[in-house]
């Protein structure tokens, strides 16, 4: 029994991801050719994408990381999102690229953008690997998008279920039996 056995279907292969991440890196390098952006990423899901993206982006960039409490994990404590790890440096006047693994409801990103804008950066743009628009509850403008995906429960390439499957090298659809769910109607 391996972690691959819990995957119902490979949605995006390693090659597809590698190719698209390389393209995003070229796009960023072109658009920020005269700037030194800060890539801000949110732990933990984005780490694999971030690691590959910065190596595909030939720019004098820097990286900063944040961690936010998520709703379910915080049910026993605060009723509001908390910053578990804040930015290490100042972003005032800097050009930010927020790097996200997946945008579904957009609630976390909506909160994060408000937080970042309060620190008066010069600009904020969003780069996400996966866009799942079917779940969106907020208005989010995505500047750089890896893939638009259907409304499926995906894991791998940093994305987890219950802290597992992050180390899958591809994006896979998790078997509904793993999380007690039913297959969405198509």
């Amino acid at each position: 029994m391996t972690i691959h056995d819990d995957v119902q279907e490979v949605l995006l292969t390693e090659d597809q991801i590698r190719g698209r991440v390389a393209e995003l890196g070229v796009e960023l390098a072109h658009d920020y050719s005269d700037r030194q952006p800060v890539l801000v990423s949110v732990l933990k899901g984005s780490i694999v994408f971030l690691a590959d993206l910065i190596r595909a982006t030939e720019l004098p960039l820097s990286v900063d990381l944040m961690e936010l409490s998520s709703y379910g994990a915080a049910m026993e404590s605060s009723g509001q999102v908390r910053i578990l790890k804040d930015l290490s440096g100042s972003i005032e006047g800097r050009d930010l690229i927020v790097v996200e693994d997946i945008i579904d409801t957009g609630l976390t990103l909506n909160y994060l953008l408000r937080y970042l804008h309060e620190r008066t950066p010069a600009s904020v743009h969003i780069c996400c690997l996966l866009d799942k628009p079917a779940r969106r509850l907020t208005d989010i403008h995505i500047d750089y998008r890896g893939f638009t995906i259907p409304d499926r429960f995906v894991v791998g390439y940093g994305l987890d279920f219950d802290e597992h499957y992050r180390n899958l090298p591809y994006i896979g659809v998790l078997r509904p039996s793993v999380y007690g769910g039913a297959e969405p109607r198509t």
Partner: protein
Amino acid sequence: MAADLTGATGPRFAHASEAELARILDFYQVAWRYEPDVFPISWNASGAVVECFAPDFYLPEIDLYLELTTLKQSLVRKKNRKLRWMRLLYPETRVKLLYARDFRALMVKYGRLDFLGEVLGANGHGASPRSATAPQPSEPAA
């Protein structure tokens, strides 16, 4: 507005899933109002309103209405029909219908399967008293 299923300090929600969604919105600091607006969708021959649609939530910062449906297929059909009329009559108003599968996905995402079990044990989504006895309009044209 803070979520409170009991209605002691906030709105009295018709269903536990609505209170849960309100808690999620509170958590991420998204402003919401519970059933703030009522949209007439059917009138009789004398012009009196005979059926309305009151979406569960309004998110003022996003200018979006949310309507939750949960378990009962008959209620889902009814809400789908109301939503079609709503979109026909008020095309500028943005309404998003969250189906049971959408709510389930949210609960899976947030590791709230225990809560999902509680909701699945409940008997569907309470119907609004405003529309419980109202006549049904026919289908809008496509």
